[in-house]
C-alpha cells in the first residue's frame, strides 16, 4: 500500500469536515413532494403481495388487528402486514417524520385536525376518491378525511366525546339521564351527589382526555360551528361573552367533580367510574372497552351536558370521526396497502373491529353485536356536533384554550382564565 503524506491525510480530514458542513448547510425540506396542482395520485395498482407496514397509535387494538391481518393474509397469498404502533402522543409528534421515508407506514392512520392537515400539506396521502373502500362508508362521516375535492383519508372510527353514565347509579339516585338544559343537568348532578356518589369523574390532570368535555360544553355555547378555528384566527376571542359563559358553567361543575380533579390522571378517573364510585366519566365512548376491562358490569349510556337555558340548542351531543386511514404516497407497496384499507373497510371486517374494540365505525351496513355499541347506536342518528377541539391546528392554542377550563375548576376566575388563554392565542396570531 502506498503511503500517504501527513498533508494528504489532513486534506482528507478537512475535506470530510467541509463535506459535513456543506451537507449540514443544505436547505431544509424533504423527499416527499407536496401534491401538485393536479392533486394527489391514486395508489399505484399491482399485485397484492409483499410486506405492508400499518402505522397507528391504538395499542389496545393490536390483538384485533392481528386477527384481521390473519384474515387478510388468508385472502391474499404472500402478503404480510406488520403493525407499527406508537403511543398516541408520540404518534402525534413523530408520525409525519417517520412516514415520509416510506419504509414505515405503507398504510397508516391519522388524528382528525392538525395531524390530518399536516399530512395533507406534506403530501403523504394518496387519492382514495375512486377506491373500492370509499363506497363502503356513510357519506356524511367522510368529511374529516377530505381536502377540497379529494378524499385523502377514510375516518374509520366514530366516537362520542361525551360523559359516559353508569345507569344503575342514575336509577338508584332517580337522576334524569337526558337533561333538557343546564339547570336540569346541574339538578341531575345534585341528585347523584345526594345519593352519595361522585357525579362526574373528570381526568383534569390529563390534557388529552380532560379536554374532551370541552367538545360538549362549547357545542351549543359558541355562535358558530367553526368556533375553534375562528379563535385560532383571531375572529373570536376567549374573552367574548359566550366563552366566559361557558367557563362559568365549568365553574358550576366544580362541586360535582371528584376532589382534586385537576390532579387526576385518566386511569384513576376510569377506576372511580368502573368501581361505581362516580356516576359519570367525562371522557368519551372510546373508553368503553377500558372501563369494561376494569370490571365495570353496569349498563352504560351517554349523557350530553346541555348548556342551553331553554333546551333549544342546535346539538344533542358531540361526536368525532377519527382514526383516518390512508395510503402513503412514499410507499413502495401501495397496491397491497390500498388492499389492506379496502379490506378493513368491508362491512364484515369493520364490524369485527367495532364489536371487538367497542367502538362505532363509519362504515355502512355494519351489524353491532356488542351490547354497549347496540345501546349507544341511537346516538349515531342524533344531531351531534363534530368535536370542536380538533378544529385547532396549533396545539399550543388548543392547550391554552382548554387549560382555561381546567384553571376555572381549580379555582381561577373565568375572566382571569379567559384572559390568560387569549394572551397565548394573541401571541400566535
Amino acid at each position: 500500500m502506498s503511503q500517504i503524506s501527513r498533508r494528504q491525510a489532513m486534506a482528507l480530514l478537512g475535506a470530510l469536515g467541509l463535506g459535513a458542513s456543506a451537507a449540514a448547510c443544505a436547505g431544509p425540506g424533504g423527499s416527499t413532494k407536496p401534491a401538485g396542482a393536479s392533486g394527489p395520485a391514486a395508489p399505484s395498482a399491482g399485485a397484492v403481495t409483499g410486506k405492508v407496514s400499518f402505522a397507528h397509535w391504538r395499542g389496545e387494538d393490536k390483538a384485533v388487528f392481528d386477527e384481521l391481518i390473519k384474515r387478510f393474509a388468508a385472502k391474499h397469498d404472500g402478503v404480510e402486514v406488520a403493525q407499527d404502533i406508537s403511543t398516541s402522543n408520540d404518534y402525534n409528534a413523530q408520525a409525519l417524520q417517520k412516514l415520509r421515508g416510506g419504509s414505515i407506514g405503507d398504510a397508516f392512520a391519522t388524528f382528525r385536525g392538525a395531524q390530518f392537515k399536516n399530512f395533507t400539506e406534506a403530501g403523504i396521502y394518496t387519492e382514495l376518491k375512486d377506491s373500492q373502500a370509499v363506497k363502503n362508508y356513510q357519506k356524511g362521516l367522510l368529511s374529516a378525511g377530505q381536502n377540497g375535492d379529494s378524499q385523502l383519508g377514510l375516518p374509520y372510527q366514530v366516537v362520542f366525546p361525551m360523559p359516559m353514565a353508569n345507569l344503575d347509579l342514575f336509577d338508584k339516585a332517580g337522576a334524569e339521564i337526558a337533561p333538557k338544559n343546564w339547570d336540569a343537568f346541574l339538578a341531575m348532578c345534585e341528585k347523584l351527589a345526594s345519593a352519595g356518589v361522585i357525579p362526574i369523574s373528570w381526568p383534569g390532570g390529563d390534557v388529552g382526555n380532560g379536554g374532551q368535555l370541552f367538545n360538549c360544553m362549547i357545542a351549543n355555547n359558541a355562535p358558530v360551528d367553526d368556533m375553534c378555528a375562528q379563535i385560532e384566527q383571531g375572529k373570536l376571542k376567549c374573552t367574548d361573552d359566550w366563552f366566559i359563559k361557558m367557563l362559568n358553567q365549568y365553574k358550576d361543575l366544580k362541586p360535582f367533580v371528584q376532589p382534586n380533579a385537576t390532579g387526576t390522571a385518566v386511569e384513576p378517573a376510569q377506576n372511580l367510574f368502573s368501581q361505581g364510585k362516580a356516576a359519570m366519566l367525562a371522557t368519551g365512548s372510546y373508553h368503553l372497552a377500558a372501563v369494561r376491562g376494569l370490571g365495570a358490569k353496569f349498563p352504560i349510556d351517554l349523557v350530553f351536558p346541555n348548556t342551553t337555558s331553554d333546551g333549544k340548542g342546535k346539538y344533542e351531543g358531540a361526536y368525532n370521526a377519527t382514526f383516518i386511514l390512508g395510503v402513503n404516497s412514499a410507499s413502495k407497496n401501495q397496491a397491497a396497502a390500498a388492499a389492506w384499507i379496502d379490506f378493513l373497510s368491508e362491512p364484515e371486517n369493520a364490524g369485527y373491529y367495532a364489536n371487538q374494540t367497542a367502538q362505532h365505525v363509519s362504515v355502512d351496513k355494519v351489524e353491532y353485536t356488542n351490547p354497549d355499541l347496540k345501546r349507544l347506536s341511537p346516538w349515531l342518528q342524533k344531531k351531534t356536533a363534530l368535536a370542536a377541539r380538533f378544529q385547532f391546528n396549533n396545539l399550543d392554542v388548543r392547550n391554552a384554550v382548554e387549560a382555561s377550563a381546567t384553571a376555572v375548576i381549580s379555582g381561577t376566575s373565568p375572566e382571569q382564565a379567559a384572559a390568560a388563554a387569549q394572551k397565548i392565542v394573541d401571541e400566535r396570531l
Binding site: 500500500m1 503511503q3 500517504i4 503524506s5 501527513r6 494528504q8 491525510a9 489532513m10 482528507l12 480530514l13 470530510l16 469536515g17 463535506g19 459535513a20 458542513s21 451537507a23 449540514a24 448547510c25 436547505g27 431544509p28 425540506g29 424533504g30 413532494k33 402522543n89 408520540d90 402525534n92 409528534a93 413523530q94 409525519l96 417524520q97 392538525a114 399536516n118 400539506e121 406534506a122 383534569g204 390532570g205 390529563d206 390534557v207 388529552g208 371528584q258 376532589p259 382534586n260 380533579a261 385537576t262 390532579g263 387526576t264 390522571a265 384513576p268 377506576n271 372511580l272 396545539l395 399550543d396 392547550n399 391554552a400 387549560a403 381546567t406 384553571a407 381549580s410 397565548i424 401571541e427
Partner: protein, 318 residues
C-alpha cells in the same frame, strides 16, 4: 500562505550525501509519525461529523428559518425566532422560569441531601453498604418507571400519599393538580431519583480524605462542625463540583420524567425547556424549535459556568 525561499530550495536540492537506496539508508526520526496513522481517527471523525457536527450546524441553520419540518419551502427569518422566544412567547418564558426554578430547587436539595447521606454512610460497615445500595437503587430504574411510580403516589384519589394521610385523618392535596405546588412535587421525585447516585460521588470524595487530618483536628479541640467546615467541605469541593454540574444538566433535561409524570403535553406549571421544545417541534414549528434548542444549550452552558464561578468549587491549582 508563504513558503520561505530557503526552505523550498532546501527541499528541492538533492542531498549529495544521500545513499542511492533511500529506503535502506534514510534514517527515520524516532519522533516522526507514519502519516498513514492519521487515517486511523477517520472513522471516529466521520461519526462525530455526521452525528454531532452536522446536526449542530443544521440546528443553527434551521433556527434562522420558519421551516415547518416537512415542507420543501421555507423562508429565512434572521434572528426573529430568537426574538420571539424572549419577547412574544409567554409559554417559552414560562418554561424557562419553571426550568430555572426547578434547577435551583433540585441542585440545592440534591446536593445537600446526597452529602448528608454520604456523611452518614461513609464507613464501610455492613449496614452502611446495605443502605447505600438501597439509596442507589432508584438510579438504576428508568425515568419512565420512576415517573409512573410517583404518578401513582401523587394521585389524589387512590395514591399512596393521600391514602397514608387519610389514615391519620388528613385530607391530602391535589399534588400535581395544584399549579402552585406541582413543580415542587416533581422536584421531590427528581431528588429521590438521583440522590443515591450523587451520594456515591460524595462517598468516594469523603473516603479519600486522610484520617490524620481529623485526628489532628480533634487533638486541637475542633468540634464536628469545625471539622466539617475546615476539612470535609474543602476536600469534597471537587466532588461537589461534579455533583452540582451533573445535577444542573440533569435538571435541565428532566424531559422523560416530566412527560411521564405530567403527560404530553405537560400543563404550563410543569412545562420546562425540553418539553417546550418538544411541543414546538410537535406543533410543526421546526425552525422555531431549533432556535429554542440553541437557547436551551446556551442556557445550560451559562448556568454551569456561573455556578463554577460563583461557588468557586474548584480548589486552587486545579
Amino acid at each position: 500562505m508563504s513558503i520561505h525561499p530557503g526552505t523550498a530550495a532546501k527541499r528541492k536540492a538533492p542531498d549529495s550525501a544521500a545513499p542511492a537506496n533511500p529506503a535502506k539508508g534514510r534514517r527515520r526520526s524516532p519522533t516522526r509519525v507514519n502519516p498513514a496513522l492519521y487515517l486511523f481517527p477517520l472513522p471516529a471523525v466521520a461519526v462525530i461529523a455526521f452525528f454531532l457536527v452536522m446536526p449542530t450546524l443544521q440546528a443553527f441553520q434551521y433556527a434562522i428559518t420558519d421551516w415547518n419540518g416537512f415542507s420543501a419551502a421555507f423562508n429565512y427569518v434572521g434572528v426573529d425566532n430568537f426574538v420571539r422566544a424572549f419577547t412574544k412567547d409567554s409559554l417559552f418564558t414560562n418554561a424557562l422560569t419553571n426550568n430555572l426554578k426547578f434547577v435551583l430547587l433540585v441542585v440545592i436539595a440534591q446536593t445537600v441531601f446526597s452529602l448528608v447521606l454520604a456523611l452518614l454512610l461513609t464507613k464501610n460497615s455492613r449496614g452502611s453498604i446495605l443502605l447505600r445500595a438501597l439509596f442507589f437503587f432508584p438510579t438504576i430504574l428508568s425515568s419512565v418507571s420512576v415517573a409512573f411510580i410517583w404518578k401513582f403516589i401523587y394521585d389524589p384519589n387512590f395514591g399512596l400519599a393521600n391514602s397514608v394521610l387519610r389514615t391519620v385523618g388528613v385530607d391530602g392535596g391535589a399534588y400535581l393538580g395544584n399549579d402552585a405546588q406541582a413543580l415542587y412535587w416533581v422536584a421531590v421525585t427528581q431528588v429521590w431519583f438521583h440522590s443515591g447516585q450523587m451520594m456515591v460521588v460524595y462517598i468516594a470524595g469523603l473516603q479519600a480524605i486522610p484520617k490524620e487530618l481529623y485526628e489532628a483536628a480533634e487533638m486541637d479541640g475542633a468540634n464536628k462542625w469545625q471539622q466539617f467546615k475546615s476539612i470535609t467541605w474543602p476536600f469534597v469541593a471537587p466532588a461537589t463540583s461534579i455533583v452540582v454540574a451533573y445535577t444542573t444538566v440533569q435538571s435541565f433535561k428532566a424531559f422523560d420524567l416530566i412527560l411521564g409524570i405530567a403527560g404530553n403535553p405537560p400543563k404550563s406549571s410543569l412545562d420546562i425547556l425540553s418539553t417546550r421544545i418538544y411541543s414546538t417541534f410537535a406543533n410543526s414549528e421546526f425552525g422555531y424549535a431549533a432556535a429554542q434548542s440553541i437557547i436551551f444549550m446556551a442556557m445550560i452552558a451559562l448556568v454551569t459556568w456561573l455556578q463554577r464561578r460563583l461557588l468557586r468549587l474548584t480548589p486552587k491549582g486545579d
